[in-house]
Symmetry: C2
Subunit: 189 residues, 2 copies
DNA sequence: GTGCTAAAAGCAAATTCTTTGCGTTTGGAG
DNA sequence: CTCCAAACGCAAAGAATTTGCTTTTAGCAC
């Protein structure tokens, strides 16, 4: 946890530019189609020159991915329901809903479209961390809770797979996935 | 199944142009980095003018996605091993390996990066069809075989999720996934 | 076959985006 | 305070994208 975001020391000029560019991207994304957003537009909105953005991010995809990863970072701890299973179900349902929205889907695609695997990895980490919180709480209560990877494969993976490749899963289907993971416990290496 | 690919009547000029553009894309992709491929380059390689490509595909992403979907179409029936479980395992292992390769991963990302959900849907259909073949064979033999969606969620989804967001799964892990799907039978609605 | 038509391709100019060299500003370190 | 390296602005050069117009082509009716 040495790095914060993609920016250097906080407070410097560099950080201010990054912040205003990110803000500009969010503003543009809110009022126009993603296909119409261009770097010169973002630059104008942010009050910087295009070359600044080109030098820092290289291309639009990288910038959009950068912004998307930041927006995908969870901003609250999973709600507590009394049981690990309940926590996971509640969290997974909310996760599925957020990611299924038009904006959510676009952000995932932006993250995947960027070069390198850093962005996707970080998104994976976000989910993993949230689940770890739930798992820790369950352990504290003395409950059994499935392996982290089992949850990733059994719940997160299908949710994202359906959003990306097929049709978003409804809440009941998410519930079935959670049940499945809890039913299939000790089978994993 | 009224449409063939993305092209109009076969044999026309339109189809010839599409074929040569696709060929050009594959040729360029084979000898340079994807980031260096541009529409003017493809046009030159294909012997057409850039505006032809712009009018037909709009942007590079769409063209790359178009080519990628075609390349992702399975070109053979799943190998027969004697049991549904064996068939599925063999097929899933090969699928995971193909998709994990640098080229495979790039093609998936290209498909996802394009506008609209048609490309990803088609990829999903390809996998579904292949699994359906295996399931049908199993049914003919009188074997029990898990639900198609269970296989998609339990095997395909984790494979693709790991490739896209984390680290590709090894063959053993694929085997575990297949086992899991067979172990978790009638639980699904 | 001949001529007609609509769809698609070519061409080229206009526009917009991207890259790059160079000078200036800025925040931090000595 | 002074210096330095990193980052930014500016502007010109280079590429890509869009677009109006013309030409070609394949299919169809006669």
């Amino acid at each position: 946890m040495a790095e914060r975001e993609a920016g250097p020391r906080p407070g410097g000029r560099s950080a201010r530019v990054q912040a205003s560019v990110h803000r500009a991207v969010r503003a543009l994304l809110a009022r126009m189609d993603r296909a119409e957003v261009t770097i010169p537009l973002v630059a104008a909105e942010a009050g910087v020159t295009p070359s600044t953005i080109y030098r820092r991010w290289g291309e639009l995809n990288e910038l959009l991915a950068d912004v998307a990863v930041e927006r995908l970072r969870p901003d609250m701890v999973p709600v507590e329901t009394g049981s690990g299973r309940g926590d996971l179900l509640a969290w997974a349902e909310q996760y599925a809903e957020e990611m299924s929205s038009g904006l959510g889907r676009e952000m995932i695609r932006d993250v995947l479209a960027a070069e390198g695997a850093a962005g996707p990895r970080r998104c994976c980490c976000y989910a993993r961390q949230q689940i770890a919180v739930i798992a820790d709480r369950a352990a504290t209560r003395g409950e059994a809770f499935p392996d982290l990877d089992a949850v990733l494969d059994g719940v997160i993976a299908p949710i994202l797979f359906r959003i990306l490749f097929d049709e978003a899963l409804g809440g009941e289907r998410v519930g079935v996935l959670v049940e499945g993971v809890f039913a299939g416990f000790g089978r994993r290496a």
